[in-house]
């Protein structure tokens, strides 16, 4: 992935968790970001899925370790396991479903209360293709939305809330791909350098059982783990 043949860009892992009500499109956002793909009527996630994807910034490469969690209520008690030590969270709601924003606010509150203090949270309104103001998306999305505007959550409302809470805010369409990569890039940029240099987030979750070699040490010589990131 790294383009400059000589010195590889510093690469670091970022643990990111997706939270939100069932069927708002968490897995679809991930699928779009990781595979640039979309599936209609996707089956509900069971438990959680773990995926990785790199994000290249001018100065460094961020390797996202993504926890895509199931939105059903019965899995809620497992969530702390996934957001513990996470450096970033994507809290997703469905633009066409007001209750999903309420649920998203609950998740934000829980994260602010219990997750790592420096966690970067992005609030994401998904399913923009179903609304009539899907500017920037292609015509396909418009057609799918039909004549009616299915939007039930206004941009202002969510944006105001996001600003109050200090969250990144995006409206996306996993179906058309609109704004999806932007969300992840924005998160990558928002992660403070210091947090990257501190103890590695995702590893810490299972630190007890993990071998030393899997930890990323940005200060020392390239560790074996880095070959995944930047072998050119």
């Amino acid at each position: 992935m790294a383009d400059s043949a000589g010195a590889p860009r510093p690469s670091s892992s970022v643990k990111l968790v997706l939270l939100g009500e069932a069927a708002v499109g968490k897995s679809s956002l991930v699928l779009r970001f990781v595979n640039n793909d979309f599936q209609e009527n996707k089956e509900p996630t069971i438990g959680a899925a773990f995926l990785t994807q790199k994000c290249n910034l001018p100065q460094r490469t961020i390797k996202f370790e993504i926890w895509d969690t199931a939105g059903q209520e019965r899995f809620a008690s497992l969530a702390p396991m996934y957001y513990r030590n996470a450096q970033a969270a994507l809290v997703v709601y469905d633009l066409t479903k007001p209750t999903s924003l309420i649920k998203a606010k609950h998740w934000v509150a829980e994260l602010q209360r219990q997750a790592s203090p420096g966690i970067v949270i992005a609030l994401v309104g998904n399913k923009l293709d179903l609304t009539s103001d899907n500017a920037g998306t292609n015509g396909e999305g418009e057609a799918a939305g039909g004549d009616e505007d299915a939007r039930k959550v206004s941009t202002e409302e969510a944006k105001t809330y996001a600003e109050e809470e200090g969250l990144l805010f995006f409206e996306t369409s996993a179906k058309t791909g609109y704004n999806v990569t932007e969300v992840f890039t924005a998160i990558a940029n928002a992660i403070p350098e210091t947090s990257l240099k501190s103890a590695r987030g995702p590893g810490a979750a299972g630190a007890a059982g993990r071998s030393e070699e899997q930890r990323v040490n940005l200060n020392g010589p390239r560790d074996p783990n880095a070959k995944e990131g930047c072998a050119c």
Binding site: A22, S27, L31, V34, N35, Q39, K42, E43, P44, T45, I46, G47, A48, A49, F50, L51, T52, I66, D68, A70, Q72, E73, R74, F75, L78, M81, G203, A205, G206, G209, R210, S211, Q214
Partner: protein, 610 residues
């Protein structure tokens, strides 16, 4: 070939060997308690169960009391197995095993057959010639499908969705007609009458029927005389009551009550797998009128794919057994060892599964795996598609009810499909008519919910090992080879399809379904269901309470079939309607000998135990 000579030689064989070493005994898997006898026959997926004879701690403590009862029953199998098999190899009489178990019941059957079929055949030369031609008639080929007489006429629309309320131009009457045309229904409701699940139709459509069902069941419940089932026309209703839940199966497919009951049991297990028993009980203790759909949200697909596998006809569910990938013993050994070598401390069970067939199992000595639990896992991974579709690695809390219905285990799942793991140069995607049939998955189960990274690390090591020693390529090749073809294993046998269950191992193997019974075309779907219906009938007849049947030969207008049960195996096969009993028996013998010869390739015997 003249059938009577075959009959004669059979009789000779019968008179020659000594009487069977074991007295005829009742088949171990009793149908009592209305329980699915087959799926209850719990044992290790390994010969450890055999060694429970000498090590009685083998699987103790892992099963519920009813399972405990069942677990002791297969023991006659292994002990019965030992004697004849030794005799067979030492005498050089490869057939002795089968003959011995055949002997007590074959004589009357042979006599009958010589009275009926044999005489006719002997008389007429023309008949013999005609027969030699007509033997090529395949099963179900002669069926005249007329909508009025054929109960499977609508089967190719069985799995079509019923349009919901929002769809235009469909009246309620039409929706109801479509709903009523389904040959199989499953309904789950709470004892308070709240609908929980229906395979077909949305709740607006089925709500009133759920009410009727609840009223009927409650009426009998109230008088302490639980309703088990009833018949209306050609439709059989079977009811199972599990605590606060009512399960109803409505079938026009001709399954027996105990078969339908075991299907309902599997749906119940799926619900327990999602919630655990204590949670389920708690929910209803506190609020009997709870709508269980909310806690079960997202699992409708799992229930439906389970239900559909029953409606399509699942040999695995019918026999309550697992299918394994056929591999050379040494290859499987290598895989087991690679697997064991990198075992994580946190591991409870480790499985490698390819295309729904078990490749390798590693497990602790004192815990075995129950087929019904594996059925739930396989359904989740290979039938419903929910896990696979997400991509990546999965971490899934689930309860394995037969293992322990009180708590969750955590299952790590990863599919070996991506190129990063397979450095094997062969193009994997090239010929995959149905790619889900070829997926290789690794499943690692731990009681520790924090062990994801440990198991992930183990998975990477396993992948590396399997890749290094070439096992992954061997597994893929074995998957591509598919199930055995009858003309390859028993040349000349005029048998179209068979199922062979090894009772001691609780595993089965079967002939390939191709070309007649496999495919997405409607006629193949129907042909497959006909085949499975026939197997269900055979199975039901053999397992009827107090029947004590050992061998059953049936001929109908469209197919001939043979079932044969010994303490060691259950065997079912199907041939064209004109294949004589003698020819069929001969073919069956050949296949059984093959299965015995290949036992260590077909079945996982031993597995990896730590």
């Amino acid at each position: 070939m003249a059938p009577e000579t075959t009959t004669g030689s059979n009789q000779n064989e019968i008179t020659d060997p000594p009487p069977p070493p074991l007295p005829p005994r009742r088949k171990p898997s009793g149908e009592g308690l209305g329980a699915p006898g087959q799926s209850k026959a719990t044992t290790a997926v390994s010969s450890i169960d055999i060694s429970t004879l000498s090590f009685p701690d083998g699987s103790r403590g892992t099963f519920t009391t009813s399972a405990m009862r069942a677990v002791s029953t297969p023991i006659p199998g292994p002990s019965g197995f030992a004697t004849p098999s030794r005799g067979a190899s030492e005498d050089g009489l490869t057939d002795s095993m089968s003959v011995m178990s055949f002997a007590p019941t074959m004589r009357p059957a042979a006599d009958l057959a010589s009275l009926v079929a044999g005489e006719i055949n002997r008389k007429s030369r023309a008949w013999t010639m005609l027969r030699s031609q007509s033997a090529t008639v395949q099963p179900f080929e002669a069926v005249e499908i007329t909508a009025s007489t054929d109960e499977l006429a609508g089967f190719n629309h069985e799995f079509d969705d019923i349009p919901d309320l929002t769809s235009q131009g469909v009246t309620d009457e039409q929706r109801l007609a479509l709903w009523k045309a389904k040959l199989k229904h499953y309904m789950i409701l709470s004892s308070a009458g709240k609908p929980i699940y229906s395979r077909h139709g949305d709740l607006s459509l089925v709500n009133s029927y759920m009410g009727v069902v609840q009223t009927i069941i409650s009426f009998y419940e109230g008088s302490n005389d639980p309703l088990l089932g009833f018949t209306a026309g050609k439709t059989r209703f079977v009811i199972a009551i599990e605590g606060p839940l009512y399960f109803v199966a409505i079938s026009k497919l001709g399954e027996s009550d105990s078969q339908l009951r075991s299907q309902l049991e599997a749906l119940y297990m799926q619900i327990l797998s999602t919630l655990t028993l204590p949670t389920l009980k708690n929910i209803f203790v506190h609020r009997p009128s709870t709508d269980l759909r909310k806690p079960l949200e997202g699992t409708e697909l799992l229930l439906s794919s389970l239900a559909d596998s029953f409606s399509k006809g699942s040999p695995s569910a019918l026999l309550g057994a697992l299918e394994c990938l056929r591999l050379r013993k040494s290859k499987r050994h290598a895989i087991n060892n690679a697997f064991l070598k990198v075992r994580s401390e946190k591991l409870l069970y480790g499985l490698i599964v390819a295309g729904g067939k078990l490749v390798s199992v590693i497990r602790p000595r004192k815990h075995s795996l129950h087929p019904s639990d594996l059925q739930l896992i396989f359904n989740m991974l290979f039938e419903s598609g929910g896990v696979k579709a997400g991509g990546g690695e999965n971490w899934i809390p689930l309860c394995l009810p037969a293992f322990n219905n009180r708590g969750y285990l955590y299952m790590y799942v990863s599919f070996f499909d991506g190129s990063p793991d397979s450095t094997s140069s062969e193009p994997i995607q090239e010929r995959s008519p149905d790619s889900t049939d070829e997926e290789v998955a690794i499943i690692l189960i731990s009681p520790d919910k924090e062990s994801f990274y440990d198991l992930k690390e183990m998975r990477d090591k396993v992948a590396h090992q399997l890749d290094k020693n070439g096992s992954l390529a061997i597994i893929r090749a074995a998957v591509r080879d598919g199930r055995p073809r009858i003309d390859a294993i028993a040349p000349g046998a005029q048998i179209s399809h068979f199922l062979y269950k090894s009772r001691a191992n609780v595993q089965f193997c079967m002939a390939t379904l191709q070309p007649t019974f496999d495919g997405s075309e409607p006629e193949k779907l129907v042909a497959r269901r006909r085949l499975m219906s026939l197997y269900h009938q055979l199975h039901a007849s053999m397992h009827t309470k107090h029947s004590h049947l050992k061998v059953l030969h049936c001929v109908s207008a469209d197919a001939a079939s043979l079932a044969w049960i010994t303490p060691i195996f259950e065997f079912y096969c199907v041939a064209g309607p004109n294949v004589s009993r003698a020819v069929m028996t001969q073919g069956a013998n050949k296949i059984i000998q093959w299965a015995k010869r290949e036992e260590e390739r077909l079945f996982i015997i031993g597995g990896g135990v730590f």
